[in-house]
């Protein structure tokens, strides 16, 4: 018996049990439509994640952060400073290392004054993703250029909808920063008056007494340390600059990636620290630098700065696992987006598998129980067990194919309706609009193959049971 004969018999048999076949096919349609909708949603999200990772350049990026010291750590954790930055940039597979430099300012633009964060980046960093994507290739004219890029978040803060009209406009940023000068001014003040004061308070002839000497030193040093810290905290200086907006970065916002509202060249950030010690106004940073001695290191004050994060831009084919090992060996923590992406992909695999199992159960439930007296007739005509089994399997497969084809169509229509509704909701909420569904060709074929395979698998037992049916019993009728 040829395959065409099997199809003939199967379709004829289905025609005979029209109602039951229709109900079974309906079950398959529902199962496959659900399967397609769920997988379409999963695939849509996977596509969105993949696009986001690619567009943001996350797959060639590793973030390095200082390791928090735990009670178990016997030695001090490494400081993520300029020196560490240089070491990190020389690791194999690392193309570039750049620090995360952000500070808070008061910004005035479009007759509005707001408090906002400013991110400082180098020209080199501006040429790579995600910044290059965000500003469409616009680059600061120099490292010291009084220029700025603002993002959608800044526009929201100042209540401007049409960001393009800000391009070419001025933005004034100002902040109060701590500096060694202001701190030391508090400590020393007027040296002559200070000396007179000390001479007045200290009994020099008693200094030979170790107890008195110790008391005086502790009092005098403590007093000066207290004034130093007071100088750091309460005598910050105000630094201000007027910048020209050269671009509005908004493309990146569709991924809702937290990007600073204002981006400026690194040189501008340096001016925001009168001592050059740091662009941050956090006094603890200065104290740390003082404590570690790096504030007076040969590399200059810049070396003393501790960064909250350093980003490594890797070569496309570099092994992130190896780089992470090297980073951790230096005493830092490392986070690879590519490694995370693998986890995401693994998640999707489990997700698909889970959906597959659900679909399988639904289909198996829908496809069971096709048997009829046709077996007896076919056996009396000379059909053997294998042919009967094949006829039933083809019958199950036909149900699966028809159900899957209709199910794919229904599933697709369903996702289009949901996507249209979601689009309206997203637009009303002023959210970035994206289609969470996709129906790639592989999914169409997968659903079709899945429907047929599962229906046939579900028909396997009834088919083998049918093949073993006694023809005499079968001819007596159901």
């Amino acid at each position: 018996m040829k395959f065409n004969d099997l199809i003939d018999l199967s379709i004829g048999s289905l025609w005979r049990i029209k109602l039951r076949a229709a109900l079974t096919i309906t079950g398959v349609v529902i199962a496959i439509a659900t399967f397609v909708a769920m997988l379409s949603f999963a695939a849509g999200n996977q596509r969105w994640v993949e696009n986001a990772y690619t567009e943001l350049g996350l797959l060639t990026r590793i973030n390095v952060t200082p390791k928090e010291k735990t009670p178990a750590d016997s030695v001090d954790t490494a400081v993520l400073d300029r020196r560490a930055l240089r070491t990190l940039s020389t690791l194999p597979g690392v193309r570039m290392a750049y620090p995360y430099v952000e500070f808070e300012v008061t910004a005035s633009a479009a007759d509005t004054q707001v408090t906002t964060e400013v991110r400082a980046i180098s020209l080199e960093v501006m040429r790579i993703k995600p910044f290059s994507t965000m500003v469409g290739g616009v680059v600061f004219s120099s490292e010291d250029a009084r220029e700025a890029v603002v993002t959608g978040e800044f526009l929201k803060k100042i209540g401007v909808k049409d960001g393009e009209r800000l391009v070419g406009e001025k933005i004034v940023i100002s902040t109060r920063v701590s500096s060694i000068d202001s701190a030391l001014a508090g400590v020393v003040g007027d040296p002559e008056a200070e000396m007179a004061d000390i001479f007045g308070r200290v009994a020099f002839d008693s200094l030979a007494n170790p107890a008195y000497r110790g008391r005086v030193l502790r009092r005098e040093l403590g007093d000066r340390m207290s004034r130093f810290v007071d100088g750091l905290l309460n005598h910050q200086v105000t630094v201000a600059d007027t910048l020209t907006v050269i671009a509005v970065g908004n493309k990146i916002d569709q991924y809702e990636v937290p990007v600073s509202p204002v981006i400026v060249p690194e040189g501008i950030a340096r001016r925001f620290s009168s001592s050059g010690v740091g662009v941050t106004n956090d006094p603890a940073n200065l104290l740390t630098a003082l404590q570690s001695g790096t504030i007076f290191s040969p590399g200059g004050a810049d070396d003393s700065r501790g960064f909250p994060r350093v980003t490594l831009e890797t070569e496309p084919q570099a092994s992130h696992a190896a780089i992470i090992d090297s980073v951790e060996a230096l005493g830092f923590k490392a986070f690879s987006f590519a490694e995370e992406f693998k986890q995401v992909q693994r998640f999707f695999i489990y997700y698909y598998f889970g959906l597959g199992v659900i679909g399988l159960i639904a289909l198996a439930t829908a496809s069971l129980g096709i048997a009829n007296t046709m077996i007896g007739i076919l056996k009396s005509l000379g059909a053997d067990e294998k042919e009967i089994q094949l006829a039933f399997l083809v019958e199950s497969g036909t149900i699966g194919a028809v159900g899957a084809a209709v199910g794919i169509l229904f599933g697709w229509v369903g996702t289009r309706i949901v996507a249209a509704v979601l689009k309206i909701i997203m637009q009303r909420q002023e959210m970035p609009v994206f289609d969470p569904f996709t129906l790639p060709v592989w999914l169409v074929f997968l659903a079709l193959a899945f429907g047929i395979a599962v229906s046939m698998a579900a028909g396997l037992y009834p088919a083998s049971r049918a093949a073993r049916v006694d023809p005499v019993e079968a001819l007596r009728g159901d």
Binding site: G12, I377, L381, G382, A383, D384, E385, V472, R476, G477
Partner: protein, 269 residues
């Protein structure tokens, strides 16, 4: 000389509840090619079971069947299927047509399993239906045909593969007199052309009229074998429901076989 089809101590016993039923009990017979044999007997006498055994639809529980030198009881299930596909044509009382197929397709289906090339099937099926007077009913489904026409389609399906033997189980049981006569005439004609016909019937008169030989069965055994039923009178006082000759159980119900709804008319004069 050994007959073409022989059985020796052929038995088909089965269990129903806790009782053993001897549907066919130690039947030994020989049938030559070209014979027209009628098997008559009361309901439950085992005639349909005997027919199913000879047609290879059922397997004996004892004894043996030999057809053309081939022991059916030794064949594998696959070989038995091949035997049915190539050598056997079967006609049933209830026609057993595929209701979703046309008359032509029904007949063609018989050629799916005997190795007939696909290209030949339609032509042969068409030819057979025309020969049986159904040339204008080729595209009709069984539901659109009369009982007589349906039985002729069933006959066409049985004959289209050119079998060596035609088994007919109450072929006229569901037909009116006119259609029954037509079917019987057809069987006679086919037998005249050399086809071996083995027919089960309740109608002793008809068997006497058309068959060359009549086997009379009673409780699983062949109690009469003669050229004519009239020549082989059964036990004169056969009770309508005698206790079966099995080791247990009160009755001998109809063994598994194609459903038969015809009245019991075979208890002899």
């Amino acid at each position: 000389m050994t007959a073409w089809m022989t059985t020796a101590d052929l038995c088909r016993y089965y269990k129903r509840a806790r009782h053993e039923v001897r549907a066919v009990d130690r039947v030994s017979l020989g049938i030559e090619r070209g014979e027209f044999v009628a098997v008559v007997g009361a309901s439950g006498s085992g005639k349909s079971t005997l027919l199913n055994l000879l047609a290879g639809l059922d397997r004996p529980t004892g004894g043996h069947i030999e057809v053309g030198g081939e022991r059916l009881d030794r064949l594998s299930r696959r070989e038995l299927s091949r035997y049915r596909a190539r050598k056997v044509g079967m006609v049933f009382q209830s026609f057993n047509l595929l209701p979703h197929h046309t008359a032509l397709k029904n007949v063609e289906t018989a050629l799916f399993f005997d190795g007939t090339p696909r290209g030949e099937r339609r032509g042969r099926a068409h030819e057979m239906l025309v020969r049986l007077g159904l040339g204008d009913r080729l595209g009709h489904r069984p539901g659109d045909l009369s009982g007589g026409e349906q039985q002729r389609v069933a006959m066409a399906r049985a004959l289209v593969k050119r079998p060596e033997v035609l088994f007919a189980d109450e072929p006229t049981g569901n037909l009116d007199e006119e259609n029954a006569r037509a079917i019987i005439d057809l069987l006679i004609e086919l037998n005249g052309e050399g086809l071996t016909v083995i027919m089960v019937t309740h109608d002793v008169d008809m068997a006497a009229r058309v068959a060359k030989r009549t086997l009379r069965m009673h409780y699983g055994q062949v109690v009469g074998d003669s050229p004519s039923p009239a020549a082989t009178p059964g036990p004169p006082d056969l009770p309508p429901a005698a206790p079966e000759r099995s080791d247990s159980g009160p009755s001998a119900p109809e063994p598994p076989g194609p459903r038969s709804s015809a009245p019991d008319i075979g208890r002899g004069p």
